[in-house]
């Protein structure tokens, strides 16, 4: 019954999408306000219909109504209420429904962009077109309201691995960020379609791009944290295709956030920005396609299904249309001004973009390499993590150097000499810092990163100090200076976070160690500069699982830590093919993470372990959070 209602609601929303698209097409051409009005009303209708559909599916999930195929696949009797809701995005059909709902909400908000009324109909129609595609998928290809002929007593259930706090929020966060890219894309394409010659679309997109950036960053952070905690997913980052395709839109978007400043301030790079936002959007769709089609094998293989070919058609249609419209109208969007000098902020923003795009291209190449090689040589060849490390390291160095200089260079013409003078003190200080660091660290890569990092930080500090001295002398208050320089200081915060992140990545990858060892109870062992002792092992049984655990004492430079790694064996329930779950014991300190795995009971009184010592991983999490905080502050800029 409810299934039928859900199915009908989705079908009506698809019809509403078609009606809306038709009204917009004719309405925009004939300049008919009535037809455009019908279009906007159809978006409202779609939002209402999808909202009810989502609620219906949530109701079916939480009441465990196994007559619904999706519920039977993703829920089981023992699943808690929270995970029953989270199961909404655990499978393909539910994800697509949620995706459509979020996009319909976003599309609805376009019309509140009052100051740019002329852009609205065309932007809304672009967004509505994309929305209609996703509704098409859930109506005709992957319906979340399919029914089962025989109703099972228990569902298949969610994997134990997925019954996890990160499962509950990581996909949702990424969706929110990914989908938000549709709106700037719609503004850009809408602006071209309506032959708008102003920079309105960029101004209008600004908050959407910040919003998207914040959620994409948060999604990536949560994802890498989850992969770090979950065994077998290769640590916080493994250059796995699924990770890569989530990173690419972030890279393109970050490039856009920088280059769009040139358009806001000087009306420069107008065509370039349109291309960049197109790229970011296409990469987000490409990511969805790759993860959902199973085209490239990944450790995180997702539910694979038949939506691949539809996606290809959709991507080709959208790309061809966008490029066609761009080619047709690009004369209208030429920049009025030109770059006057190489020593100017706009030029450095271009450099920023070049290097961001090189990283994007590198990641793209590495990701699709197996497909390309198979097409040309008939053999599947992968490129390993060393590929990314080799190419990206110089890129990151250059980008970090830009991070120091670019923010302090003025627009238009900057004179070289005063800027070099400004950099003098920071350079001297960072050389000194690097010498101090040399006493503790011996790795060239690390020292190089330290040098550039401290350089960036000293430039930032100098800029803030000089500004405050100057303005305080002029009689301004602290608050006034902060609000005057608000955006600049927020961007410093973002940059500072990125610096911490890079230091964390460098130190943990250069100085990380791992060792395998076997111990019997009471036995202890010295590995490198720490001692480890197996105190006891225990077996426990709970309602859902059998637990094999161990208690170990780790002593490192006078500090003692107790670690409890476990192996859980879930009792057979439903039809899961996964019933084992390794609980890694992690002891986080600021300086080091002790990451201990109980691999196996050797069944001769001995136990098999593996320990990773990951230094300074904490900086990675802290840095990311600082950056995201900076992004949030920029988005909610207000006068203090």
């Amino acid at each position: 019954m409810l299934n039928n209602i859900g199915e009908t609601l989705l079908f009506i929303s698809f019809l509403a999408g078609l009606l809306g698209l038709y009204s917009y097409l004719v309405g925009i051409r004939k300049k008919s306000n009535l037809l455009v009005f019908i279009g906007t009303r159809s978006i409202l209708a779609i939002f209402a219909l999808l909202s009810i559909s989502v609620l219906v599916l949530i109701y079916l999930l939480t009441t465990k109504d196994y007559s619904n195929a999706y519920v039977a696949k993703n829920i089981s009797n023992d699943l808690s209420f929270i995970y029953s809701i989270a199961a909404l995005w655990a499978g393909q059909e539910g994800s697509l429904l949620l995706w459509s709902w979020i996009l319909s909400l976003y599309t609805l908000t376009i019309r509140f962009s009052k100051p740019f009324k002329s852009l609205l109909p065309s932007s809304e129609s672009v967004s509505l077109f994309i929305l209609s595609f996703f509704i098409f998928l859930i109506v005709f290809v992957e319906s979340p309201f399919d029914t089962l002929d025989t109703i099972p007593l228990n569902g298949r259930g969610l994997n134990p691995i997925l019954q996890n706090f990160y499962m509950a929020i990581h996909p949702l966060t990424l969706y929110i960020g990914y989908i938000a890219l549709t709106i700037p894309f719609a503004f850009a394409l809408g602006s071209i379609i309506s032959k708008d010659k102003t920079d309105n679309w960029v101004l209008r997109s600004k908050n959407w791009t910040y919003f998207s950036w914040i959620f994409l960053s948060l999604g990536l952070l949560l994802g890498s944290r989850w992969a770090y905690l979950e065994l077998g997913w290769g640590g916080y980052w493994a250059w796995d295709p699924v990770e890569n395709v989530a990173l690419m839109p972030w890279l393109a978007l970050t490039a856009f956030l920088h280059s769009s400043m040139a358009q806001e301030t000087r009306s420069l790079l107008r065509r370039w920005n349109i291309c960049l936002i197109f790229l970011a959007f296409f990469l987000s769709i490409f990511g969805t396609f790759i993860t959902r089609s199973g085209l490239i094998s990944s450790v995180h293989s997702f539910a694979q299904s038949s939506i691949g070919p539809y996606f290809i058609v959709f991507i080709i249609l959208t790309v061809v249309f966008a490029i066609f419209m761009y080619q047709k109208n690009k004369k209208l969007i030429s920049s009025n001004e030109d770059i006057v000098s190489l020593v100017s902020k706009e030029n450095f923003l271009i450099f920023n973009n070049i290097f961001f795009l090189i990283i994007t291209l590198t990641v793209f190449l590495g990701t699709v390499f197996p497909i390309i090689s198979e097409a040309f040589t008939g053999e599947k060849i992968l490129v390993g993590p060393t590929f990314y490390d080799l190419v990206n390291f110089p890129n990151v160095l250059v980008l970090m150097s830009l991070m120091s200089v670019a923010p302090i260079i003025p627009w238009k013409t900057g004179k070289l000499y005063p800027i070099l003078m400004l950099l003098l003190k920071p350079i001297i200080l960072s050389i000194l810092t690097t010498f101090v660091a040399y006493m503790f660290f011996d790795n060239f890569k690390v020292l190089l990163i330290f040098f550039i990092s401290s350089f960036v930080i000293f430039v930032i500090l100098q800029d803030i100090i000089v500004e405050f001295k100057l303005q305080l002398a002029r009689g301004l208050k602290w608050k006034d200076i902060l609000s005057k320089r608000y955006r600049r200081y927020c961007s410093f915060l973002v940059h500072f976070g990125i610096i911490l992140l890079i230091i964390g990545i460098t130190l943990s990858s250069v100085y990380g160690t791992k060792s395998d060892f076997i111990l019997s109870t009471g036995q202890s062992l010295k590995i490198n500069d720490y001692d480890i002792k197996l105190l006891e092992t225990y077996k426990k049984e709970s309602e859902a699982k059998n637990i094999l655990g161990a208690k170990l004492l780790l002593t490192d430079s006078g500090n003692s830590y107790y670690l409890y790694p476990e192996q859980n064996l879930y009792k057979y329930e439903g039809n899961r093919e996964i019933n084992k779950e390794t609980e890694v014991a992690i002891y986080n300190t600021l300086k080091k993470d002790y990451y201990l795995i109980l691999i196996d009971d050797m069944e001769d009184g001995r136990f098999n372990f593996k320990i990773y010592i990951n230094p300074w991983v904490s900086l990675l999490w802290i840095g990311s959070l600082v950056s995201i905080l900076g992004g949030v502050l920029i988005m909610f800029r207000r006068k203090i």
Partner: protein, 138 residues
């Protein structure tokens, strides 16, 4: 004097050349061939495969624990089989009859792996899983 735009263009070309070269070198040094069991066995005499990644189904009952903490198991593509030796942490979903991917070297008839991936953590759906199996058998 060339205009700033020209200079930027020249700069871009230089950067592009440098990174093309770097990408070429990086690809060369990190190549991993991805083969099925039969392909790996057929190519084992060929020296161009330094590092291999081989995928196959873990044969039922073939997983054996050794006293040094390593494990042995057999992967198959339903035509031929390879004996794999691996030491390290084992993914939770690694068990009989799943698709495993091992990375390492094929020495004589034993594959010495130092990486072990098991496919399907987020594969929630039955049919998709069954479909995969079928296509694999084909």
């Amino acid at each position: 004097m060339a205009s700033p735009k020209k200079k930027i263009q020249i700069f871009v070309v230089i950067i592009a050349l440098f990174f093309s070269f770097l990408i070429y070198k990086a690809v060369e040094s990190s190549l991993v061939y991805y083969l099925t069991v039969s392909e790996a066995l057929a190519e084992k005499s060929s020296s161009r495969f330094k590092r291999l990644r081989v995928s196959g189904i873990v044969e039922e009952g073939s997983i054996k624990k050794n006293s040094d903490g390593s494990i042995n198991f057999i992967i198959t593509d339903k035509v031929r089989t390879i004996n794999v030796q691996y030491k390290g942490e084992v993914p939770d979903i690694f068990t009989d009859e799943i698709e495993a991917v091992v990375e390492g070297e094929l020495i004589n008839t034993t594959f010495i792996a130092n990486k072990l991936f098991a496919k399907c953590p987020t594969k929630y759906e039955d049919e998709a899983y069954e479909e995969n199996k079928v296509s694999f058998v084909k």
